[in-house]
Symmetry: C2
Subunit: 203 residues, 2 copies
DNA sequence: GCTAGTTTGTGAATCAATTCACAAGCCCTG
DNA sequence: CAGGGCTTGTGAATTGATTCACAAACTAGC
């Protein structure tokens, strides 16, 4: 299979959101043009994006809303429940723990980890805060799929190395540093300061 | 001036971070190749990115670390102090309020706003939480440059409309919805659920 | 079951971003 | 101050993403 561009995957996520919205409103079918309008892109773009994965529409009619939604969930890997661990039980960790969007989309937060004795043993939005030194043993047992790094920049690379060594192959990083990892590990970084710089550049 | 690609601006942010790192280590000059290696890109890319804005290097020698850092800060608009308001004093708002990366880069958080009476009047990491109904009056007076939306998806479009009407032209949105705004307003959305879907697609 | 009216799926064309490749410029050494 | 060794800045070439445009396939109305 040809490599799929990041921008394509992003748009698929967007389409899925709109489809869920349409589903709630009870619409049975939707055209690539309607999806495009809702998402600020073009109908050709929508059709091209989908064409990488198959043909889901009926000519002359459009796409069945529930069918396309199911197909997109499948493509995006949302068919199964993913287990997530949060590294760092500070403010960002807490914000993530309570973030509704995760649960809604089948992401189950298994536990949070911290090194701070004051936090260990407590609960964060109903999620256990565990001692970071248990990480490797827990990962071996519970096999989480994704780690979210919610810690300061200094410790981020070391934490990444640890979760990778423990066997986790997908990481979402909120620390404002560039991280490096083996090629078979996917790391996405969300850097808020960088986003703000994108804004100040525009101003 | 030609339009500058988003990806270019992102990379400039990254280069600036590395330059600051090099500055701390006391390096006087750096080559495009060294910057590229540190940032996982190519030396041609670095030079091309910079060439959109002028020539900052010396042939045979490379770039002066402090000079290039200054130039990049200027380009990215980090020369002045930007005033930021946070809309929403919940968990995400709190996480942002304490986020060190902002202060370090010249972003001054003026205030947070909320509609919840329990939160109004308190402090969030040393930042006043004000009644949302004061927003327009305060913005007229204090002229903040940037608004950060840290509220649930339902209210996000309405909040965006309000800050735009009040005169703010740059918005960083953490609500998991697609927002629309007039063309002269720059909106950047950070959607954590979407980032996670990028990961599950890769897996 | 034929015709008019839609809308898909997809090669071809265009537009944008990245990489190549090299002349021009600078430092350093002797 | 001439020559060797680097490194920049930038047109040209390439690679990648988006848009165009149209044949093929479907629905609905009669």
């Amino acid at each position: 299979m040809k490599r799929i561009a990041d921008s394509t995957v992003r748009r698929l996520s967007i389409y899925l959101r709109f489809l869920e919205e349409f589903e709630e409103r009870g619409l049975a079918t939707v055209s690539s043009d309607a999806l495009a309008r809702r998402g600020g892109t073009t109908s050709a773009q929508v059709r091209k994006d989908l064409s990488f994965f198959g043909s889901f529409g009926k000519r002359g009619l459009g796409y069945s809303v529930p069918e396309l939604a199911t197909a997109l969930r499948e493509i995006l890997g949302l068919g199964k429940e993913w287990r997530v661990v949060i590294i760092g039980a500070g403010k960002i960790g807490a914000a993530l723990a309570q973030y509704r969007g995760f649960r809604q989309r089948g992401f189950h937060i298994v536990a949070a980890y911290d090194t701070n004795a004051d936090k260990i043993g407590r609960e964060l939005e109903g999620i256990q805060v565990r001692n970071m030194n248990r990480l490797e043993a827990d990962v071996a047992l519970e096999r989480p799929d994704i780690a979210v790094l919610a810690i300061p920049g200094e410790g981020a690379q070391a934490a990444l190395d640890r979760v990778v060594r423990a066997g986790i192959r997908a990481v979402l990083n909120f620390a404002p540093v560039q991280l490096s990892a083996p090629a078979d590990v996917t790391v996405k970084t969300v850097n808020m300061a960088m986003e703000l710089e994108g804004l100040t550049f525009a101003l």
